[in-house]
Structures are given as structure tokens and as C-alpha cells.
Amino acid sequence: MKRMLFTVLCATFLAACQSTPPKDAGAPVEERNPSAATGTGTSTTGAGGTGVTGSAAGAGQRNPLRDPSNILSKRIVYFDYDSYVVKDEYKPMVEAHGRYLQANRGTRMAIQGHTDERGSREYNIALGQRRADALKKLMILYGATEIQIETVSFGKEKPKRDGHDESSWAENRRDEIVFVGE
């Protein structure tokens, strides 16, 4: 059934699809750490049998922002059901990240919004986006600038836990903070 696949390496192809945040030329802290950021291999094939293959790979180093004793290593904010309100318990962590961005204007961050598994995949993408936007607003209040933070949503596509119960769902309704270059 699978005929000969005409495969072409497509690193350039992926590069062309790379997301937009500007490269953090002045970032004082991050090293590129593709072990966290890549490992994504994607290949495409025509139903007729020909296609292209793409893969991205890399190697990198540990990120100092992940020093477990630093509040900046905390990267997850959990949300209540059907809520976009960043709870008070996360304010110190959000404030630390906001002030970090204020002090490091070249640093870029992505906030990834997530939902639990219930409901439409696409509507959940929009809900996760709203959660990411809520956290971004708060970070801007603490000194970050608009340009430093890209908010994106994974909807229900990347659950932290695979269970189908409230305790799993509670861990899946979250924002994750990722510094560009990590």
C-alpha cells in the first residue's frame, strides 16, 4: 500500500514556517536549549505517493532560568473550570516574571494556554488563548512590554495528565511560560 516515498529533507521548509517572535539578540540569560524547544519532526506525503520529509533537531544546554531555587523556575499557572482569572497565589510568580522581562528588554517569552479535554478542539484553542492573554496582561502590569510576550494556545491538545477525571482536568487547565530560546 505504501509505495515508494519520494523524500526530501526539508529543514529549510521548517525554517520557513518558524514562528514569529524576534530573536532575542540582547537576551542576557538564555542559551539556546533545543532539548526543550525542538525535537519536532514533521514529514508530509501526498496521498498519491510523493512527498517531502522535514525534521528539526539540535542540541543545547541547561537554562539558568530553571534553577529550582529561583521563583523564575516556576512556569505553570493553573485555572479554575471555565475561568481565565489568574489566582492570587500565582501573583508573586507572575510579578517576578514581569519584572524579569522589564529588566531584560531583549528577552522574549511565549505563554502557552491549555484547557481540559472537554468540548470542541477549536473552541478550546480559543479558550486557551484567552487564558494566555490573561496572564500576559498581568505581566504587562508588572513591567513587561507587549512585544516581549507572544501568547499562543494549545487548546486541549497537550494535556499534562491523560486522566479523564477532575483531578487530571484541574492540572490540564493551565498556562505554561516558555522563554524564547529555551
Binding site: T44, G48, R121, E122, Y123, I125
Partner: protein, 425 residues
Amino acid sequence: MSRSLRLFLFLLLAVVAGGSRAQLTIEIVGGGATAIPIAIVPFAGENAYPLSVTQIVANDLSRSGLFKMIDGGGVNPRPARAEDVRYADWSARAADAVVVGSATPLADGRVEVRFFLLDVVRQSLLTGFTYAVPPSQLRATAHRIADVIYEKLTGDAGVFSTRIAYVAKQGARYDLFVAEADGFNPQSVVSSNEPLLSPVWSRDGTRIAYVSLENKKPVIYVQSLQSGARQVVANFRGSNSAPAWSPDGGRLAVTLSKDGASQLYLINTDGSGVARVMNSPGIDTEANFAPDGRSILFTSDRGGSPQIYRLTLASGAVERMTYEGSYNVSPRHLPDNKGFVFVRRDGSRFNIAIQDFATRQVQVLTQGALDESPSVAPNGKLIIYASEVGGRGILAAVSSDGRVKQRLTAATSDVREPAWGPLAK
């Protein structure tokens, strides 16, 4: 489904499936009330080929739930041409229709497949066709014969020759598959270790738009099925998702968050000419074009809960379509533009429902716990959707009157995000 047919399906799958573990198996879980009794006589000479054309035809028709197979065993000699049919043999078996035919090798290596569909009640020939095809096209020919029979006897276009796309997740790997409508010959057209979602077919069946998270954010691609080449259509700052083809294939409606909240935009399929459709407070997403291209159904929470709205493109007028319940999402037009299917939440359950534009009457079609992502067959008679059994994703199909139900499972994969392709040209 009869036991022998089920056994046959199993054997056929065992023989043909070999290659892919993402192969879908189709099981009928509920049948129509009025099935047309039809006898399909094995074609003379078809035993010379590894695929039985008549058994594929019988499987197709059975799966639709609208036909009941009548056993023609014992009719001797076995008719192969219209003029060989003795109607008394078939009225005695309570068949309303009978199909006879032959498969004959041609000198150039092709096969001549000939069939006749006869009306037993009126004792008349309804139709007949002859195809000359390479042996590799016998499955496709069988689907075309099933389409002809289905259309002749039900009045609706058959969809056995169409294709479906769906996403299979196996471990950490995601594949977008394109398969025949009966689940055979799945071919991976995209493979990724990040999620793929929201595949949609262009109306001519040559391209699929989808969303991939491979770049750590939702990005919309359009891929040619012929060459496998793909193009980024929308990779703006923020999330890019929920693609929907315009009927002319020239544009996509998409959801972008580049200007703030998730909003609808139109964009050319090469990624140029992006234009915002509306400014609304809150979320607008899941656009779906009307078959005439003049309006769009979409999901919005502008009223406080997610509901389905209709935007008339020329005037910009927006009308709320759903009122019952607090969660109505994922609208898809019926091809005759008389209504739409969607997902509604009732308590903690998510089910597929259908609503008529004129009467606004709603019928809930499914009973799963987490039914989602409906896609309507191009004849409007079947809706394929994603469901869940035992925590694992399966595909299911239901007829638009709710009577016929099928379940499609893959041996080892989680399957989701079905998209029914257009009618074969």
C-alpha cells in the same frame, strides 16, 4: 450486519490491512428501519482476481444501513447478464433488486467489469455499466458500482468512492491519514510528533488545510494531496487555527489572535490578502462556509456562552442560530444548505445534533459522552464524528435521520478529527 458478512469483513481486513495499524474497521451498531432487499450475485470470472468486486459492493451497501443483502445461493445457473435473470428466482427470495455481472480479462491486461441492476418488482433493467480498468482499480470500480446502485435505488448520491481524512495518534506520533470511505488504504499525508488537528478538504478534493502545533503554536497549512507539498497559510503572532475553505477554493476563513482575542479573518490560500471579517467582543471561531459561499456559520461567546451564529458576508448581518443549552459549537452546513450539524453539550455530555434552518428544530443524533468534530458526507446523509470509548478516540458515523450508526476503530491508534472528502469526479 449478518454474521457471515461480519466474518467476511474481518477476513478481508486481515488480508488487506497488513500494512497499517491505523487501518479503520467499520462496524454497524444500529440499522435503518427500512432496508431495501437486494441480491448481489457474484460476478462471473471475478474469482480470478484477489479482490471480490461483488463483496466490496455488498459491504458498501450494507454499511449504509439502507440495504439488506439477500443470499442468491442455489440459483443455478448463476446469471451474469441482464437477459440471464429469471425474475421468479429473485421474487421467491424476496429480493426487490438484483445485481449481476462479470469480470473478464482483456488482451491489454485490463479487466472489463460489466454489471446490470434489475428491478425484480417491475421486472425491468434499471441500469448497467461497463468499465475497463487495470486490476489495481478493482476496489475503486466496486465503490463506483455501489455508488450507482445506491443512487438508483435511494435517489441520493452514493459516497462509497469518496475519501476521508482523520488524525491518528499512536504514542507520541500524530499522522494525518487519507483513506477510502470504508477505511481502506490509509495513507499518511503528514506525520509529526506534535498534534495535528482541524483537517478540511478543498471542494475539488486536491488539497487539505489543517493546523499543526509543530512550531510550538497553532499554524495553518495547506497541502497538496498530489505532490505532498505544503504551504504555510497563516503563521501570525499568536494562534492560527480553525481553517474553512470557501466553496470556490480560493480563500480560507481562519481564526487568528494576532490582534487580540480570537477573531475571524479571510485569507487567500497562498497566505496573502488577510482581512478581518468582524470586530466582536470575545471569541469568534470555527467558521464554516455555506455551500453558496454567501454566509458563514461560526461559534462565538459574544452572548456569554458559546453559541452558533450566522454571518451574511455581503451585509455583515449576524444572526444567532442556537438558543437551547449553554454550549453549542462546531457548526457544519448540510450540502443542501437546509440546515447544519453541530456539537451541543447537555449536562456533562457532548453530542452531535442537527438543526433545520427553516423550522429551527433540533434533533440530537448521538449518545456518546464526548462526541465532537462532526463532518458531513457530501450527499448529506451521513455524519462522521469523533467519539470516545474507554478513554480511546474512535470515529463514528450516524445518518442524518439518526437511524443508522457505524463505529470506526483503528487497531492500536487513537483516532480523531475526521473530515469527509468531496464526491469523486
